[in-house]
């Protein structure tokens, strides 16, 4: 292969490789060919894993690879560009693992001169990596091992450049082998899902502290500035953004919203409305704990983000005094409605404990909720149930003391319940009572359990959970489109059916998921947030279409939108059209599928948990609904056909890889007999 000199704008231009076994540190230039095909971040990481990690390498072995990376737009003033991507083979699911966080850490890494950090090997002793521009050191972290994320971060800031040092850390739960450890950035920003923190801890790597003082240049500064201004105007004028709820309450606004729409998972997905939703709402958090209740709703933001979805709060008195940190919706629902707990103080506390222990709040909450349900239904052995009963804390829905106690026990793997809990719901229940039990009581797909949205009440999200590349997950697509009422014309033009913007309908949902999935793959790879194109709809052509269907359309010059293709082109100097952008997205989805087929993922794995197809919702606005089995299968057929995957097996067909210029991937799959017919 000829390596062409790297001269694209936006990027820092090199990847930092650290081998913790040998202590070798290498700075490798990005290759033009790879960024043209995969952009950066999530896409680039997937390629690194595919090329360098044979499928027999176990997630927690020293040969596994952990990537932390940014995209070409990270840290360049574009809206919501503080994201960072973390990827590795997941210890929780055994398949492709990956998680994304919004922080200041990612941009800092780029200012230090690196687009990404690739970690291999295993340090002999607990260590951390300190990056200060050109200087990269592997330093001892013996005194930090066993410490929580909070102490670790503060200690490293003190040791290095104070508030200007950005820290990524894993927590003690991951050190002890809990399978769903998170990587926490800047104290509260979690790359929570799929156990990336566990991979980090398995390498004896406690943290990565970064300070950078460099500069980034874009290829076409004037054009770039205009595109970015257009993008900011796009988000500031988006109807949902202008409502201001989100800025006022952060993502916790979804507690009220989800409850009203009937998709707020309650008591381990038995129900989808929570009678005490008001008690755990965003308003409640603001009134009780927010310190930033200023005239303009404050909140805190990632780098260059007008949306400021983080909510910081503190508890000053009572049993949970001392609790502090940023909350967001998923954690509130996981410890709140899913566990049936109505006391927001306990929910906030449990959430921040999980954060400090470095465990994914979603998986932790789901795990505890699952134990509660099992116990209520008499499926836990007397011995297991007694473990916690003995302390006067019966494991049942709504018992906040039991919930908080279980967070500690799982993190410390204390007792049998604690040990089981550290495996995550799917593995724990399989161990307890075989696959049958796991299928009945968990919300897991491919080993990872479901976030806070009930698929029976929201068909696009539901379908997404089944096909997402990292197990049950909404963020691979995040089709909020179905949750907001848009003019029929917009839904029809975008996805061929007005039903696409309804929760209940199935029409247009496959098209909607395909579109969202590809765009999300792109934005995760360039380093911008889901909020811009799949929560708010600021991306071209949606603002334009909304205008078209207005009673009195405004002049075109008054309509602003985020044009990702222009944005990436102006920053990097590549020529990327609207169509090409989606082709890149498709390529990334394809590559992740290729990785997963090597780990054995087939059609049988693209499924929904039993509860969602068999048990109709008992109450609320979506009462009586379930995810229709037949509909699901025909949606899957259609999705496979569009993706070019074999209908029977789910393997990728050769033609599709040819079309996307993925010859190298094709050759490897061919050799391993993993191509579809």
């Amino acid at each position: 292969m000829i390596v062409v000199a790297f001269n694209y704008g936006g990027y820092a231009g090199k990847i930092l490789q650290v081998n913790l076994s040998t202590g070798k540190i290498t700075k490798v230039p990005l290759t033009k060919e790879q960024v043209e095909l995969y952009l950066g971040g999530r896409g680039y990481d997937a390629k690194i894993l595919f090329d360098n990690m044979p499928p027999n390498v176990q997630p927690l072995s020293k040969n596994s690879i952990l990537c932390l990376s940014t995209g070409p737009l990270t840290g360049l003033l574009g809206p919501t560009t503080g994201r960072v991507n973390v990827a590795a083979r997941s210890p929780l699911t055994g398949i492709y693992g990956n998680s994304n966080a919004g922080t200041n850490w990612g941009p800092e890494l780029k200012y230090a001169g690196y687009d990404g950090l690739v970690i291999t090997g295993k340090a002999k002793n607990p260590s951390y990596i300190a990056i200060e521009d050109e200087s990269v050191q592997i330093l001892p972290a013996k005194n930090l091992w066993g410490e929580g994320v909070y102490e670790t971060t503060l200690a490293l800031q003190e040791q290095h450049n104070g508030f200007e040092t950005r820290v990524a850390a894993c927590g003690p739960a991951a050190e002890r082998g809990l399978l769903y450890g998170s990587v926490i950035f800047d104290l509260w920003d979690a790359a929570g899902r799929s156990g990336m923190g566990t991979v980090m801890a398995s390498k004896n790597l406690k943290a990565v502290a970064v300070t950078g003082s460099g500069s980034l240049e874009v290829a076409q500064p004037d054009r770039y500035y205009d595109v970015v201004c257009d993008g900011w105007s796009g988000i500031l004028n988006e109807p949902g953004f202008k409502m201001g709820e989100h800025q006022a309450l952060g993502t916790a606004v979804c507690v009220g919203w989800g409850n009203a729409q009937g998709w707020l998972p309650t008591r381990n997905f038995r129900e989808s409305v929570f009678e005490f939703a008001d008690d755990i709402s965003g308003e409640e958090f603001r009134d009780k704990f927010s310190i930033k209740d200023s005239p303009v709703p404050g909140g805190r933001a990632c780098m260059s983000c007008p949306n400021r979805c983080k909510r910081f709060g503190k508890i000053d008195s009572g049993p949970y005094a001392g609790t502090r940190g940023n909350i967001e919706f998923e954690g509130v629902a996981a410890f709140g409605s899913k566990c049936g707990v109505r006391n927001l103080e306990a929910v906030f506390h449990a959430f921040m404990l999980a954060n400090d222990y470095g465990m994914d709040c979603v998986t932790t909450g789901n795990m505890i909720a699952t134990f509660m349900e099992l116990n209520e239904e008499g499926k836990l052995s007397a011995k297991l149930a007694a473990e916690i009963d003995d302390d006067g804390m019966e494991l049942k829905f709504g018992n906040e003391r039991a919930m908080v106690e279980m967070v500690h026990r799982i993190a410390n793997q204390q007792g049998e319940l604690g040990k089981l809990g550290a495996l995550g719901a799917w593995r724990a229940l399989t161990k307890l009572g075989g696959q049958k039990l796991a299928e009945k009581y968990t919300s897991a797909v491919k080993g990872m359990d479901t976030i806070a949205c009930d698929p029976r009440a929201s068909k696009g999200f539901g379908f997404t959970f089944a096909i997402a590349s990292r197990g049950s997950d909404h963020l691979r697509t995040h089709p909020v489109f179905e949750m907001i009422k848009l003019p029929d014309g917009v839904a029809k033009e975008m996805f061929g059916s007005a039903e696409a913007s309804t929760l209940k309908g199935y029409g247009g949902k496959v098209e909607m998921v395909l579109y969202h999935e590809e765009l999300a793959a792109v934005t995760d790879s360039i380093g911008s947030c889901r909020f811009m194109h799949a929560s708010y709809y600021t991306q071209y052509p949606i603002p334009e279409l909304l205008n078209k269907y207005r009673k009195r359309p405004r002049p075109a010059k008054d309509i602003h939108s985020v044009k990702y293709h222009d944005w990436v082109s102006a920053a990097t100097g590549m020529k990327i059209s609207y169509e090409k952008l989606f082709e890149i997205g498709r390529r990334i989805v394809m590559l992740e599928r290729a990785i997963n087929t090597q780990y054995g993922v087939r059609r049988k794995d693209d499924r929904l948990p039993r509860r969602f197809v068999e048990e109709p919702l008992p109450s609320g606005p979506a009462k009586g609904q379930k995810f229709d089995k037949k509909q699901f299968e025909s949606m899957l057929d259609k999705y496979y056909a569009k993706r070019g995957w074999d209908k029977k097996t789910g393997l990728i067909k050769k033609q599709m890889l040819d079309k996307l210029g993925m010859d190298d991937v094709k050759k490897i799959l061919e050799k391993r007999k993993l191509l579809g017919k």
């Binding site: 500069s215 240049e217 930033k292 005239p295 404050g298 260059s304 007008p306």
Partner: protein, 171 residues
């Protein structure tokens, strides 16, 4: 009379101001080249924008041995004349706000020049964390209102208003 007013109660820590400033002056994106800097204090959940206060009795002007720093009569901004600057670092150490920065690549000291009266950072701030105010009465009024608001909040929280007002002052 022009001045940036920094308000940590309104700042979200998005740092758009930093990048906008660095791009306007250097055509590069780099917080280190920005004349406004935001200190993010994650453990307290607050963000503190900092920068030049365009002091009336400016320490940087007073200590400069070659009189390279002057007041722009148009904006009242305190400006460094790069041709005269000898790089002695006196201004940097004297500024109580850490608002004089050093550009290693170019070997010069630099600070906020109010963008000649059209501050770029302010255009990018969506919450009012940094504002441009051209008459002092408005600044004072803003500060008084803020103090009053703080007192009102304390009443709501059940604390004594007098105590809060006594704490008064800066943010």
């Amino acid at each position: 009379m022009g001045k940036l007013v920094f308000n940590s109660e309104l700042c979200t820590g998005c740092r758009a101001c930093e990048l906008a400033c660095s791009f306007k002056h250097e055509r590069l994106f780099s917080p280190h080249l920005a004349r406004i800097r935001v200190v993010r204090v994650d453990e307290e959940g607050i963000d503190v924008p900092t920068g030049c206060e365009q002091c009336e009795v400016a320490a940087c002007i007073a200590v400069c041995p070659v009189r390279a720093i002057y007041v722009d009569p148009e904006t009242d901004g305190v400006i460094i004349d790069y041709d005269r600057c000898i790089g002695c670092k006196e201004c940097m150490t004297a500024c109580p706000f850490g608002a004089v920065h050093y550009n290693r690549a170019k070997g010069i000291f630099y600070k906020c020049d109010l963008c000649g009266g059209d501050p770029e950072c302010v255009k990018w701030c969506v919450t009012g964390g940094v504002q441009y105010i051209t008459d002092l009465d408005t600044v004072l009024q803003l500060k008084r209102t803020k103090t009053a608001e703080r007192a009102l909040r304390s009443i709501a929280e059940g604390a004594s208003a007098a105590g809060a007002a006594a704490k008064g002052g800066g943010v």
